[in-house]
Symmetry: C2
């Protein structure tokens, strides 16, 4: 609402999504947009830059900005989305069930894994993501209690990020993510429909508030055949 370039960004993004502008098509020029939104060029450029970073448009010096073929941003983790948002984007019907919800204190060993401070209290949650009746993702979350106060099972069933951002009004800043392959644990085999696979793809998320404090560590353990990570990058 407040911020003009966000409005413009969302408007243009909506226009692309709705098919008003199709892949390959040229968008109105920056000066056109200045008139359309009655704003300055700097503001228009900021909106277009965001679209460019996301891989929705490509700006060419002297020619214009063109809509890219955005066939698949589906299930993209690029840009730090929570699970609910990701599944909405990709139009898949995931069902989430909670298999553990407890408080505990981070000890030496757990601190090494989670990078959360030793001695702090966290909510530990197991969530299982089910698609078409198959359990394919096991999420193991650790949330700092002091940052995500009064978290409940009910909230965890919905979207924890929505709770943090909308209800608690806390700003999430950034995340580091590591993807690797690991041998399946007993827990994986108990909780997922592993077929004959004996390994999982693990996505480790270290998530920080905008003030720079880490408040979450999450391991998403995926059955390998259903794992897919899509990414877009510009050359720097």
């Amino acid at each position: 609402m407040n911020i003009k370039y966000i409005d413009i960004y969302e408007t243009i993004k909506g226009d692309i999504a709705s098919g008003k502008y199709k892949p390959g098509e040229k968008l109105p020029s920056e000066n056109d947009y200045c008139k359309i939104f009655s704003t300055s060029r700097g503001t228009v450029r900021k909106a277009l830059e965001m679209l460019s970073e996301e891989g929705l448009v490509n700006s060419l010096h002297g020619k214009g900005a063109f809509v890219l073929d955005s066939n698949l941003i589906t299930f993209s983790f690029g840009g730090l989305v929570s699970f609910k948002e990701a599944s909405e984007n990709s139009n898949r019907d995931f069902i989430t069930s909670i298999h553990m919800f407890e408080e505990l204190t981070i000890d030496e060993e757990l601190s090494k894994v989670t990078k959360l401070p030793k001695g702090s209290t966290v909510y530990k949650i197991y969530r299982i993501r089910e698609l078409n009746g198959e359990k394919i993702i096991l999420d193991i979350n650790y949330f700092l209690k002091e940052a995500v106060y009064n978290l409940t099972k009910e909230i965890a069933k919905q979207s924890i990020y929505e709770y943090i951002e909308k209800t608690l009004n806390t700003k999430i800043g950034f995340a580091k993510r590591v993807i690797k392959v690991e041998a399946a644990t007993l827990k994986d085999k108990e909780n997922l429909n592993m077929k004959s696979y004996n390994f999982v793809v693990v996505v480790k998320n270290y998530v920080y508030l905008s003030n720079g404090i880490q408040f979450e560590y999450t391991e998403s353990r995926h059955r390998p055949d259903r794992f897919e990570f899509v990414d877009f990058a510009r050359r720097r």
Copy 2:
């Protein structure tokens, strides 16, 4: 050289790398930098935004910009780097060997896989990446001949991207990347030291010139135990 905000970006990045500013430390304010580089605030802000996007610094409203603990940007593919650059960054001694170098024409079937236009001529290259005497990555490249003219085995042994950008002076724009797990093929087993693994992690790269034309498709097939993907994302 030419572009001021790039200079500033690189200078500050160097200062962080050299340890002049340490993790957690506050950088000079934007106005300080204006004086230091005798430039305008907009230019300084552009440089700082780039560092922020990369996860090197975190700017806080009303407080300042702080150096993040960048313990691991090692072997990050985030930001579209070629293999040589990646291995330089991570200080590992990869050895590259060429196991195939040929020209061929993209047919219907291959077009579906590579997304390159049917009927176009490409260089097809197999490259094997060896680390500590173990063959762990098989790269299968397809480069559009019209975009990467006169590519030779010698160049491929070095860095193809360096050739494209410095020698041909062609601008690379962006890439889409998909990571998934696939069963190991006979080729994987022939060319890699697969131990007892019967699957590989596959990174598919669809790379475009800045004019929006796709000029490369590459499959990087990794032995699963040595695969790691590191990423940084800001909340939008």
